[in-house]
Every structure is written in structure tokens, then in C-alpha cells.
């Protein structure tokens, strides 16, 4: 397992009882409402729903309950293979920020993963 490498510029998000981190440069826009967003809650076995939508440059969208922008550098720890498999390959590692771990996922890959869970049009 390799050493932790730092990452800077993230969106730290909550979805249901779960936490998620996205790289800010992968997010084209943040919109309100969740009518067409694929809800990140589905990845945590919670009913779909969201109050903010992260839009990717390719037009994909992921809904979350809450988010905050974090500009500081944080270490990223490698994800164990068991966790990578569970998230359909969208998991890139775990960010250690604010004293807790945040799963760092690629926005496009995670949106694709959620669609596979049946989250389209939530």
C-alpha cells in the first residue's frame, strides 16, 4: 500500500447517512433542487432525495443533501479492494479531513454507478 498523497480543492458532501468527497475541478456547476439528479443517497441504502445537484462537464448530475467547499490540502489514503469493488470502481481513495474519512469518488464514474443502481430520474 502506497503512502498517502495530498489533494486540494474538494466538495465535501453528505448524502443520507453517508459522506462523499468530489474533486472540485470535476464539478462544472452546483444547482439547487433534485428533480432530475441521480441521488447519492441510493449508494447508502436510503430513499432518493437531494437538495443540491453536482453537474459534471459531460452533463451528468448527482444529488446530495448538503455540501461544503474545502480548499485545504488533505491526504488521500488508498481504498481497499473490497471497498473499490463495492462502489463499482468509482472510489479513488479516502480523504482524511475534519478528523474523519470521506470516500473520494469520481463524479462521472459515480453517476454512472448510481444509474446502475436504478437511480436515474429520482
Amino acid at each position: 500500500m502506497g503512502p498517502a498523497s495530498p489533494v486540494r480543492g474538494m466538495l465535501l458532501c453528505h448524502a443520507g447517512s453517508g459522506r462523499l468527497a468530489f474533486l472540485a475541478h470535476e464539478v462544472l456547476a452546483i444547482a439547487a433542487g433534485a428533480e432530475v439528479a441521480t441521488s447519492a443517497r441510493l449508494a447508502f441504502r436510503a430513499p432518493a432525495g437531494a437538495s443540491r445537484v453536482l453537474v459534471s462537464p459531460t452533463g451528468g448530475a448527482v444529488g446530495v443533501d448538503a455540501l461544503e467547499i474545502d480548499a485545504e490540502a488533505h491526504p488521500v489514503l488508498p481504498a481497499p479492494p473490497v471497498a473499490v469493488r463495492a462502489s463499482g470502481g468509482s472510489l479513488r481513495g479516502f480523504v482524511l479531513a475534519r478528523g474523519v474519512l470521506w470516500p473520494l469518488v469520481g463524479l462521472v464514474e459515480f453517476e454512472r454507478f448510481l444509474r446502475g443502481l436504478g437511480g436515474e430520474g429520482t
Binding site: A4, R85, A86, S87, S90, G93, L101, F113
Partner: protein
């Protein structure tokens, strides 16, 4: 007539999760820990409770009760099984210690996780399922 059962040469860490007892080769059992609040993994199956950071490594916690029998066993203790490819934390409600195991080491089932549990075997008076750590790791990380 007494039946002689072969005794394995390995030592095993013997632990329980609920009413089921397991044995993992002592050489793979790194330590027993009380884990902190877990971070949930997106998309994780129910038996993957979450992850925690331990000495710079992110370690997944597997509820052995849910994985093997489909029944959750609440516990904050886990046996860390360390392999060259990574570490697994297997929940434990009781840890008996290190001891030899006697009996067979045949797969306890033809499919699923039971392929990676071996037996029938005993540790003292207890019936134990001997965990194949490499096989269990593959099962959890690749669905093998």
C-alpha cells in the same frame, strides 16, 4: 473406539461472532482491535459495515454474522487479518486466543463464502470454521 483426528501444524486465532466460531491462521491474524465509528462505503453490501483508518491504512470491517449466516452481530471488536494485498477486519464478539485446530479442512459449502470456510474442525470442544484468508479476500474484493 476413539477416533483420531489429524491436528494441523498451524496455530490459529479462534474467535466467535455470535454463536459461530471461526479460526484464522495465527500468521495472518495481526491483532484484535476495538474499532471507532465507521465511515460508510458507497454501494457497500450490508456485510461491509464501513471502514476506519488504522496506522495509516484504511481497513474494511466485515460483519461475519451477516456474511456467513445473514444475521448481524453487533460488535465493536474485530480481528485484523493482514495479507500482502491488504487487511480485513472481521467482527468478533468473543476472542478465545491462539490454539491448534483438529479435523478436516474441506470447504464447508460449494458456493459463496462457504467455499472459503474449511472444516469440519474443532478447537478444543468447539466446532470451528477455519477461514482461508486469501480465498475470503478474493471473495470479498472480486466476487470469486
Amino acid at each position: 473406539m476413539a477416533v483420531h483426528e489429524p491436528e494441523t501444524r498451524q496455530s490459529y486465532l479462534v474467535f466467535a461472532c455470535g454463536s459461530s466460531w471461526y479460526a484464522v491462521p495465527a500468521e495472518s491474524a495481526a491483532e484484535v482491535v476495538t474499532f471507532p465509528e465507521l465511515t460508510r462505503v458507497p454501494g457497500a453490501p450490508a456485510h461491509l459495515l464501513g471502514v476506519f483508518a488504522h496506522r495509516g491504512e484504511v481497513i474494511p470491517v466485515v460483519d461475519m454474522g451477516l456474511l456467513v449466516a445473514g444475521v448481524s452481530q453487533s460488535s465493536r471488536r474485530a480481528v485484523l487479518v493482514r495479507l500482502p494485498r491488504g487487511t480485513l477486519a472481521l467482527t468478533a464478539t468473543t476472542v478465545a486466543g491462539v490454539s491448534p485446530v483438529t479435523g478436516a479442512l474441506e470447504p464447508l459449502g460449494p458456493t459463496g463464502v462457504h467455499v472459503h470456510l474449511r472444516g469440519p474442525a474443532k478447537s478444543g470442544p468447539r466446532d470451528v470454521a477455519v477461514i482461508d484468508p486469501e480465498g475470503l479476500f478474493d471473495h470479498l474484493s472480486q466476487g470469486a
